[in-house]
């Protein structure tokens, strides 16, 4: 059975520098998959290639067997792969509700003619309901009319997730969601993610916070200097010599 | 493509015209003036923007003319004498603003006559003229058409007066056989290109090249002149270039070593061109607009009062600004004054009838006939003699007056041929 998302010999060259070199890993449906590695390992570059932000120099990203590398970000999104951004990129000038409404763009495609004559009443109500569900799911139910720019840091991260969640994705790509969160917020966010997963949504997670990774992920891939290093469950990776060495530094050049 | 059975607009306009004057005559402000009340004349022309040089100097000339007329007792109508004053509106050479201006001048300021530059702005004002039956004048007879019964082109007979210069050139310098021409690509340039082509053909002068059109925004004329001189012509014709183009082109011709004959419609501030080139270079330059201190203008056939005095006064107030436009609007006023005094009232229809009585009119350069049926679709252009001016020893001197209708009788068909080729005939204009 082909896995939901597969990365085959993925390579990315910026001029002379090879940021990602022949990477291979799979993400199974309904799992939470972690992608870890020391700084500069090429995690975010891989993430950007999967989400269509970059076009890979070589190799392919397969979604249910179909090669989606090189597609524009919105085409990747329309295939159910929705990403969030690192430092809480939001529509600061719009209200929280409106941010979530933008998220409902795909399930409730706006139609210009229907909009003028008001025939899209049910579409709008559907989108509105979906947006409110997503916001309530992430605990933002009572902040709907606030401006996104005025929210606290934690709330802004949650809103970023809510926008992605509002578009009914099959896979959510999370770009360091836990960075800058205190332990209590991290625990809360981990709970939410578990619920998302139980909802049937697959999650690919790029993260430094080992406590979150180990607590959440069913499967973890570790990268170093753009190359594949190791893969396996949380326990396996925690004790994997190459991973420890890569993180603790002084790593011999791995074959 | 279904060509419209008849020009819907045309028939509606005829209906409009006949009913308009009667039905809306009342809407006009009371045109019969109380005794001694000041007559107001509308001056609707560009006073700001790139075309202002065709408006502002004319207004200045009119103010001087009004002062001199008022000093001499003003306009003598049936019920006594009336002072005269001008109400100006800057239409920025835009048809929409011209329409607003016309409405204000006629329906609010109660003017008895409106002078315009014409060109792009006239079609915007035409519906107002139709509706109110107000008398209008323009500097461009190319605005005339059968639909413009109350529009006159009484002074500048652009472009047809150009034929006189070419005719004089052919007579006095028969050895010159080849010519080239350049013109600015706008409403003024095109009709005169056709006229010059006809005049050159009538005079047996062969065109070496297609007329070279340049964009009105051009500032560097070296490439244009290089192109003109590439065929070694005897004559270079500058068409009706504004003075902003005549000066740099003449300078380029001088610098690029042209020694032949130059002919142009205007040569405003020719003393400055001489300063930029040389007296010898400008010797024999032919154009059509005399200085008003020219002795020939004191002859009896001239209908402009005290031209030398007017010229001196204008130069005193606006040194170095005298140009063709300075006197043209004033000479229209002279014609209007004669018409109003003959009719004894300022009512537009009465003045128009008086001015066109017997098909003759007192044009600034002598008696002329109301003309233009074939060319403009209506006999509303006052065409008679026109001076040919040549620069001799650094001074513009009138070499003689040539009759335009006479030329037309001989070569009218040539002119119509070229005007049709350039879509300039009244029935061709879309």
């Amino acid at each position: 059975m082909t896995s939901l998302l597969q990365v085959k010999d993925l390579t990315m060259r910026f001029g002379g520098l090879t940021a990602v070199d022949g990477l291979n890993f799979k993400v199974e449906k309904g799992t939470i998959h972690g992608l870890i590695g020391p700084n500069g390992a090429g995690k975010t570059t891989t993430f950007n290639m999967i989400s269509g932000f970059y076009t890979p120099s070589d190799g392919a990203v397969l979604l249910r067997g179909e090669d989606i590398s090189g597609l524009q970000m919105h085409e990747v999104a329309r295939r159910g792969v929705v990403r969030t951004f690192q430092h809480s990129t939001l529509f600061a000038e719009l209200t929280v509700l409106e941010n979530a409404l933008v998220g409902t763009h795909m399930p409730f495609r706006p139609n210009i003619f229907a909009a003028i004559f008001g025939w899209d009443r049910d579409d709008r109500d559907g989108a509105d309901a979906r947006a409110r569900d997503a916001l309530r799911f992430f605990g933002l139910g009572d902040l709907m009319n606030e401006h996104a720019g005025d929210l606290s840091h934690g709330h802004q991260r949650a809103l970023g997730m809510a926008v992605a969640y509002a578009s009914h994705p099959d896979i959510i790509l999370l770009d360091e969601p836990f960075t800058g969160m205190n332990p209590e917020e991290t625990k809360h966010m981990m709970g939410l993610m578990k619920r998302l997963c139980s909802d049937g949504i697959t999650i690919l997670l790029v993260e430094h916070d080992m406590q979150a990774i180990m607590g959440l992920c069913d499967n973890i891939t570790c990268m170093s200097f753009g190359k594949f290093l190791a893969e396996g469950g949380p326990a396996e990776i925690r004790n994997h010599p190459a991973v420890i060495e890569a993180y603790l530094g002084g790593a011999r050049h791995v074959a | 493509m279904i060509t419209k059975a008849f020009n819907g607009g045309f028939s509606r306009r005829m209906f409009l015209k006949s009913s308009a004057v009667t039905a809306l005559g009342a809407a006009l402000p009371n045109v019969t003036l109380a005794a001694g009340e000041t007559i107001k004349i509308g001056f609707l022309a560009p006073l700001t923007g790139a075309v202002a040089a065709w408006g502002t100097p004319g207004l200045e000339g009119c103010k001087i003319w009004a002062e001199r007329v008022n000093e001499a007792g003003g306009i003598k109508l049936e019920d006594g004498e009336h002072k005269i004053e001008f109400v100006s509106y800057d239409n920025e050479y835009d048809p929409a603003k011209a329409r607003t201006g016309a409405t204000k001048l006629i329906r609010e300021d109660g003017v008895s006559f409106v002078m315009m530059l014409g060109g792009d702005t006239w079609p915007g004002v035409q519906p107002v003229a139709d509706k109110t039956g107000m008398l209008f004048s323009t500097l461009l007879p190319s605005d005339l058409s059968p639909d413009t019964p109350t529009l006159l082109a009484p002074t500048e007979v652009h472009p047809i007066y150009l034929v006189t210069g070419v005719e004089w050139l052919a007579e006095n310098r028969p050895e010159l056989k080849t010519a080239v021409m350049c013109a600015q690509d706008d409403a003024l340039g095109l009709p005169s290109v056709a006229t010059y082509l006809a005049a050159f053909e009538a005079a047996g002068i062969e065109m070496q090249d297609e007329p070279l059109l340049f964009d009105p925004a051009t500032t560097d004329f070296a490439p244009v002149v290089t192109r003109l001189l590439s065929t070694n012509p005897d004559i270079v014709c500058l068409d009706t270039c504004y003075s902003d183009y005549v000066h740099p082109i003449c300078e380029q011709l001088f610098q690029q070593g042209f020694k032949g004959q130059i002919i142009s419609a205007t040569a405003d501030f020719y003393d400055q061109i001489i300063a930029k080139t040389s007296k010898e270079f400008m010797e024999g330059f032919i154009f059509q607009f005399p200085d008003f201190d020219d002795p020939a203008l004191n002859a009896d056939n001239i209908n402009f009062p005290d031209p030398n005095g007017f010229y001196a006064e204008y130069n005193k107030r606006y040194p170095g600004q005298w140009g063709a436009v300075s006197w043209e609007y004033a000479s229209i006023m002279e014609l209007w004054k004669a018409g109003a005094e003959k009719a004894g009232s300022v009512d537009p229809d009465a003045v128009l009838a008086a001015m066109q009585e017997g098909g003759k009119g007192q044009h600034a350069f002598g008696e002329a006939e109301w003309w233009g049926e074939e060319l403009f679709g209506i006999n509303n252009a006052l065409v008679g003699d026109w001076p040919v001016v040549v620069i001799e020893d650094g001074k513009a001197t009138i070499k003689g007056f040539k009759s335009i209708p006479a030329w037309y009788d001989k070569h009218g068909d040539l002119l119509i041929k070229h005007m049709t080729a350039y879509d300039q005939m009244w029935n061709q204009r879309s």
Binding site: V102, S167 | T48
Partner: protein, 325 residues
Amino acid sequence: MRNLIIWIALAAGLIVLPNVLSFSQQEVLVFLTINILLVASYRLLTLTGEWSLGHVVIMGVGAYASALLTKTTGLPVPLGILAGGMVAALIALALSYPLFRMKGFYFLIGSFAAGEIIRLLWKRFRDPFGGTKGLKGIDPMPDFSVGFYNFDFFEPTSYFYFAAIVVGVCLWILWRIEKSPVGLTFHAVHWQDKLAQASGVNLRAYRTLAFVIASGFAGISGALLAHYIGTINPNSFDVEVMVFVLTWAIVGGTSTFYGPILGCVVLTILNEVVLRELGLEQTRPLIYGLILILSILFMPNGLESIVQKFTRRKEAGLMRPEEAK
């Protein structure tokens, strides 16, 4: 219910308005109504963050299209006006392919270049565009009567009523679009295009959609102008007019729907009525330029910010309260 009263009062006001004005002010009122549609449609484009310098030339495309269609094919004028809008929208669609490879400053100058090329093509081809003299004798609106009032379209008041109805409908449509999910997507494309793209928004399609809709309405305003003054030429749509539209939008402020309209009304009344009344022909541009600078320096958020101060409505939705800026 409150809204209904406001709408009725507004309608009554508009009906009475021309009759209290002088003749020439009625003419200015007609051109003002047409320009309101022009600047309101321009704002729709700025929603996506793109500023164009070709908007007035596209208005000209609508004017030329409507004039030529009614003249050559005998199309009734009201349909001609709609057709003018359609043709302008189609030309904009064609232009969007080269133009939307650019963003920001390049789009601004690219649209300027596209506009100038169109104008030069009008100048170059005497047939059918009439060259530098443009088109004359454009068919006027056919007069008709509707029982209690007969429309004589030479009179500015009649044409004002007709234009006000057409512009009113267009403004209502523009308002509906902006308040719809499509309008929300335009805002999203402007503020965070990457995030919008991640939500599945095709950036280029939405920028093009805004450009095409804005151009369609600009075309309609061009056709309305053409059938009133009966003549158009390439210089009626040159960059000087575009500069005015730009200043109306910016001085008025583009964060609200009524901002640019406010800017257009205030600056037109100032320039065409107040300054002309003072009879300062030569200094009119000087004062207008000065007022432009002063309003940008001391009122950067535009005239709309003053209105927002008065209304003080803490409105949710797209209206940004004053302090959040």
